[in-house]
Symmetry: C2
Subunit: 264 residues, 2 copies
Amino acid sequence: MSGDGTVGKACDVLDQVASFSHPVRFGQLLETSTFPKATLYRFLQTLVSQGMLGYDPDRQTYALGMRLVRLAHAAWTHSSLAPIARRYLDQLSMDVGETVHLAQMDSSQVLYVDKRNAAEPVEMYSQAGKIGPAYCTGVGKAMMAYLPEEELARVIAQQSFHRFTDTTLTTSSDLRAELEAIKKRGYAFDREEHEPGIICIAMPILTDRGRVLGALSVTGPTMRRTLMELEALAPKLANVATQISADAQAWRFPDSKQHTIKAG
Amino acid sequence: MSGDGTVGKACDVLDQVASFSHPVRFGQLLETSTFPKATLYRFLQTLVSQGMLGYDPDRQTYALGMRLVRLAHAAWTHSSLAPIARRYLDQLSMDVGETVHLAQMDSSQVLYVDKRNAAEPVEMYSQAGKIGPAYCTGVGKAMMAYLPEEELARVIAQQSFHRFTDTTLTTSSDLRAELEAIKKRGYAFDREEHEPGIICIAMPILTDRGRVLGALSVTGPTMRRTLMELEALAPKLANVATQISADAQAWRFPDSKQHTIKAG
DNA sequence: AAACATGGTTTCAAATAATGGAACTAAAAA
DNA sequence: TTTTTAGTTCCATTATTTGAAACCATGTTT
C-alpha cells in the first residue's frame, strides 16, 4: 500500500485487520498479508501490546483495539467539524426534513463524520466513521472540486470508478468535467450516481483561503424530492457552510498566543 | 513511555497529540515531547502521510486524523460489545429509567463503549470513546475484580488513586480488599467514589471461562436513588450480562468453514 | 536596511531496530 | 503413535531510525 517505513507497515496491518468484519486468526491474516510469517507476527505482538489491536486468547483472534476508539473519540471531538457543526445540522435537518450528512476527506474516500436522519431523531455512533466513495457521492464531488490540483490528481488516481448505477461517472475525464461544472455552480449534485432512487445536493465547506474543510449535503429519495427542489435549498446550504467555516476558523485558539518563556 | 520499538513511539506521539484538546503546532509538541526535534518531526510527517494525523497548512497545526475515526468505526462495530449489547441496553434503560453504561478495559482505564441516558433517547457518538479511571468507578472495579492476577497487578500499578471524594479508595490495598468483596458478591458499587451525589451498581460481563469482556452499570443520583434500590436491580443486571456474554461468544464465527468439534 | 530571532526543515554518519529463513513447539488429525 | 497444521522463537544480516548540527524562511527588532 503506502509504505513509509515501519510505522506505515504497522498501519497497513491495522487496515488489514479492519478489512475483515470479524476477529481474525493469525493464519487468515498471513494468507492475505505481504509480510513473512515472523514479521507479521511481530507487528501483531507490538500492536496488541500497544492496545491498537485486541487479542482474544480463548479464540486466538485479533481485532481492532479499544485504544483506537479512545483516540478516535479525541479525533472526532477536537479535530472533526462535527462538534462545531452540530447545532447547524440540527437546525438544518429540522428545516428541510430530509437526511443531512456532514463529511470530510479521508485519504481518497469520503468519511461521514455526522448525520441527521429525517425519520429517527439521532442515529447510532455507527454512523459517524462510515466511509464512502468520493467520485459518486455529492459530498465527495463537492470536496474534490476544490482540492488543489496536485492533491486532486492523487485522489482521482485512487478512485475505483465502479459503476453503481447508469448515471455513475466511470472515467476520470467525465469526473473532471463534472468537477469544473461544480466549481462554476458552487455546489454538487448526486443524480442517483451511487444508489438508484437517491439524489442529493452537496455544498463544500471552505476556509477563507479556499481550502477544503468538508462538505454537507441534503439527501432525498426521488419518490419524494426532485433535483429542482433540492437545488432550491442551495442558498440555505451555502449559508450554513459559511457559518460552519467561520466557526471552525474562529474556534481554533481560544487561548490567544501567549509568549513562551524561554529557558534556553 | 511504553516503547516497543518504532511503532510504540509513533503511538506515543498520537497520544501526545490527543492530550491537547485542540490542534497543536510543532513547537508545542516539541516542548512536551521526549523526542529530539528531528525525530519528532519525522514521526509527524509519517503519521500525517498515513492519515493518522491531520495537518492544517494554514495554521501549521497537527490534529488527530480521520483515519482513526474510520478505524475506530470498524473497531466499535466488530470488536466492541456495543453492537451486540445494543438491544439489551435499550431494554434495560427503558426498564430502570436511569443512565446505563457499557464499558470495556483499555489498558488500565475504563473505556465507555456505549451509553443510554435516561433523559435523551440516544446520545451522540462523542459519548462512546470516553475514558474514565478504573479504581473509582463501578464498571472499573467490576472488571478488575475478575482480571487474572498478573494483569491485575499491572493495572493496579497504573492507577493514580487520586482522591475525588471522601469515599474514593486511595490505596492499592483498600482497592484489593474491595475487589475481593466484589468477587464474593458478584457485582460492584460506586459509593460516590468518583463524583459526589452519584452512585451506581455495576455487573461484570464474563465469558464461560471467566475471562472479562466488559461491564455494565446503572447510575443514579443519590437524590433520587439509594444504594439499596440499585442493589435490587442486581438480578436483572446479571441476567443482561449473561445474555450479552452468550451472544458475544456465539456471534464470533458465523462463517466458520472449519467445523470445530468442540465449542470453545 | 541590516541584524536578529523564531519556528520549521534537511543532512548524514553512527546507533538501533527490523527482517525473515529456518528451526522449534503445541496441539489436532490420521 | 506418527503426521500435519498452526503458532512462536532465534539470530545473523540488513535496513531503518536516530539526533546533533546546519540550514532555511519568515517575522521582529534595532
